[in-house]
Symmetry: C2
Subunit: 236 residues, 2 copies
Amino acid sequence: MPTVSVENYLKAILHLQDGDGDRVSTTAVAEKVGATPASTSAMMTRLGDRGWVEHERYYGVRLTEKGQRLAMDILRRHRLWERFLVDHLGFEWDQVHEIAEELEHVDSVELTNRLDAFLGFPKLDPHGDAIPGPNGRFRSVAARTLLAEAPRNLDLVVVGVVDGGDAFLRHLGVLGIELGSRLTVIERHAFDGSLVVRFDNSEEQQLLAPGVCERLWVDQSNPSPVIVFPESESPN
Amino acid sequence: MPTVSVENYLKAILHLQDGDGDRVSTTAVAEKVGATPASTSAMMTRLGDRGWVEHERYYGVRLTEKGQRLAMDILRRHRLWERFLVDHLGFEWDQVHEIAEELEHVDSVELTNRLDAFLGFPKLDPHGDAIPGPNGRFRSVAARTLLAEAPRNLDLVVVGVVDGGDAFLRHLGVLGIELGSRLTVIERHAFDGSLVVRFDNSEEQQLLAPGVCERLWVDQSNPSPVIVFPESESPN
DNA sequence: TTTAATTTTTAGCCTTGTCTAAAAATAAAT
DNA sequence: ATTTATTTTTAGACAAGGCTAAAAATTAAA
Ligand SMILES: [Mn+2]
Ligand SMILES: [Mn+2]
Ligand SMILES: [Mn+2]
Ligand SMILES: [Mn+2]
């Protein structure tokens, strides 16, 4: 029975580990949860005592099997609630993170599984991030590419957002980009990686700044169904 | 920004005050929240410092305007979530209290109001208790009588449960009683208040023990729409 | 109106989670 | 290989919430 605070730390560590099973530094965790390194150091010790992380003094932490499972369950609840808020309560995708940050701590397996069913067992949250299943592992999702690395002259769909802070999400709104937006890369500027693209719904070409291209997952419109386990860095 | 613990205390005090605006004893609150009188005494002082209760040393507490409003908002969230759990996730009415006890602490006005709308602005929770509106006051609900005090030979409907602990709710299930059940009082035993009743759906008469009759709200099947603000003692 | 019982508060202690400031260890740079 | 910079941990404090045991106030009984 982890506390709310402990759960937030565990989820932060999961995000920072991000597939790569290497250790995460105290400072990185501190920054993620918004605490000082001193407080975080103390918490890492407590998490180690409870068997949720391996803590190598001065070298960081890594989630144990048990810790990973706990963290995945929290992430599952977070993303399911985000789906609920957007699909059924009419929230925008840039408004749900903070609320889900609290709902995720209501820890009831019954509730979570029934919510999952109610939502139709979604694979992705409103930001295109994979939702862990009841077994604590990601459900398989089609392959995806960063827009920044996508080839030219292909019909692409925006399928996800990397590190989708609310400010970035609202910026996408201003640009008229959302999940499902279709576009084609016309030109890539070698200098900084800016892209000239054309959206499906418009005749005009448009420039996308590198900071945007590096944070959008895309897929081909006619997807070859390669199955893979994605590991985005998105926190939501 | 009250903590979860503070919110639970405030709600407990609201329940114990129950319409009557007189003071509530420390021991009663302690029992309700499951803490010792010593811990509760300390908490009452803190609540007083923050202006949420008037605390007369040695004589108990009474919610202030601000405290009452906070408590009503918590109760609103609790009962809205109970409706959600029963109406949309398929929980039984004896399974929702504990989960709502956690969900009620997710404090977002936006979330609460959208949930309210999603549910169709319900007036009653699954136990027949009134749901406070966004203004922090109960929505008007038709008058109700305790079954123990209802006249004979009237067509009655069960509209609510007093103090609906899960055990009592399951007992009602065994007896085949739920909200909406229709019955008529045939006979009242003067000795202990037991009632002989006949349910709508059956020919046979049935005996109801006093402990049951005193904890069921009923209304006439063809209700004369008297408007009143109910104050049940139910905690859910 | 004393005495006894009950209720409430205080005193003292503990855990969790947070902080700042200082010490210790590791990593980087000369 | 030292010195310097950075990171991590430790030390010491504090607030919230909880407990038990003891003191004080109130209420009930004699
Ligand atoms: Mn959270
Ligand atoms: Mn998300
Ligand atoms: Mn609660
Ligand atoms: Mn209820």
